[in-house]
Symmetry: C2
Subunit: 232 residues, 2 copies
């Protein structure tokens, strides 16, 4: 069986950076499943249209095509029940919905304006033009460099929104408890995205969230750390 | 076996209001366990000192004494494994740490300044004096009425911090999935606390979080709704 994962890249096909793709890349590692990377760029909508998606990740697993990171995680959990669990039971799966909301709205949306200009630097040609136009529209037409200009002032507020994660990390090393699970991949995806595209320091070195990010970079044989990125 | 739960009250011994005690009152109902209420007031430190706690909830279960809501929830899950699970497995238990951090830092801490003056109105005598003095100290000596004075302006910001909960509620009716579990009791405790002490409207009626709070008020035979409180 051939398993393939469409992963977002820019000019460097070996530098996947989507936070949602990273969630699934780590979920596959958690399950001990191999999957060939299919590098995918913003403007290659046609390549995934047959799978009824306009966004990645898209997973092709034999004759199955699955899109959307949360749907894919659930698919993997159900399709490979004998592999290590991503959720640790039905309560964990239900709670992962909340974790996913927090990861999307607090982690990813919080990081976005701080790294958005750097993302454009990883792109060229049509991708560059598409990204700038669509993302600047989200900020009322503001140039991305202007959006990112106040990031030194903004980062403190972002760090403050991570307090629930920080407080939890005083009691246990991972969202998953003693070892990482999909809850960690949800949160970490955003940080790995930032690391792949931007040298900006999102976390202070004495932050428990920083130490957790280090543990996540080392997880699954250093899968995330081995991927090209900045030293943050 | 006699089971007893020390629950925080003010002038009305039949109006428990601590958010942490409500988490446990609902957890006991979830497990189908009876527990006699022992009304406890802020200044009755001596009554719980034998159980090595200065705060409630404290649960006495036969010859066991357990303090701290999260510790008690874990105790109940382990001591009564054949009753309905509070966490839905080990992944849910691990994720509950994060939910607990969110419930404490976003829900309870967010509500606190808006209802703190109202709490003092539920107290008298030594409790009133203790509460005002200790809580005003937390706000740099500001009178509680002054702390609460800008709540109309503050409430929009509070509602915004609930976005992760709101986004999740678009996908499922409870933190626990199809039915409430301890994740819901964590979040709801803060709202039930506010409802017991304050007429202030924390949520707009068209908010999915409002609808979820209604469902929680009805849970376990309307346990929370039957307890004295304001129509919010």
């Amino acid at each position: 069986m051939t398993r393939k994962l469409f992963e977002l890249v820019g000019t460097d096909p070996a530098r996947p950076f989507s936070p949602y793709c990273w969630r699934i890349r780590l979920a596959l590692a958690h399950k001990g499943l191999e999957a060939e990377t299919v590098p995918w760029r913003f403007t290659q909508k046609g390549a995934i249209a047959p799978y009824n998606s306009e966004k990645v990740p898209v997973l092709l697993d034999g004759d199955k095509a699955v899109a959307d990171s949360f749907v894919i995680a659930n698919y993997l959990e159900d399709a490979y029940p004998d592999r290590p669990s991503l959720f640790g039971g039905e309560g964990g799966r239900a709670a992962a919905r909340f974790l996913n909301s927090f990861g999307d709205m607090i982690v990813i949306a919080g990081i976005f304006p701080m790294v958005v200009a750097d993302i454009s630097q990883r792109l060229d040609g049509d991708d560059y033009a598409y990204f700038r136009k669509s993302r600047e529209a989200r900020f009322g037409g503001k140039p991305l460099e202007e959006v990112a200009a106040d990031r030194d002032g903004r980062v403190e507020g972002f760090r403050k929104t991570l307090e629930p994660l920080r407080l939890m990390l005083r009691a246990q090393p991972f969202v998953g408890g003693a070892a990482p699970n999909y809850g960690d991949y949800i949160m970490f995806g955003g940080f790995q995205w930032a690391r792949a595209v931007s040298p900006f320091k999102l976390l202070a070195e004495d932050d428990p969230v920083y130490a957790w990010r280090e543990r996540m970079l080392d997880a699954h044989g250093g899968l995330a750390r081995k991927s090209p990125g900045f030293a943050v």
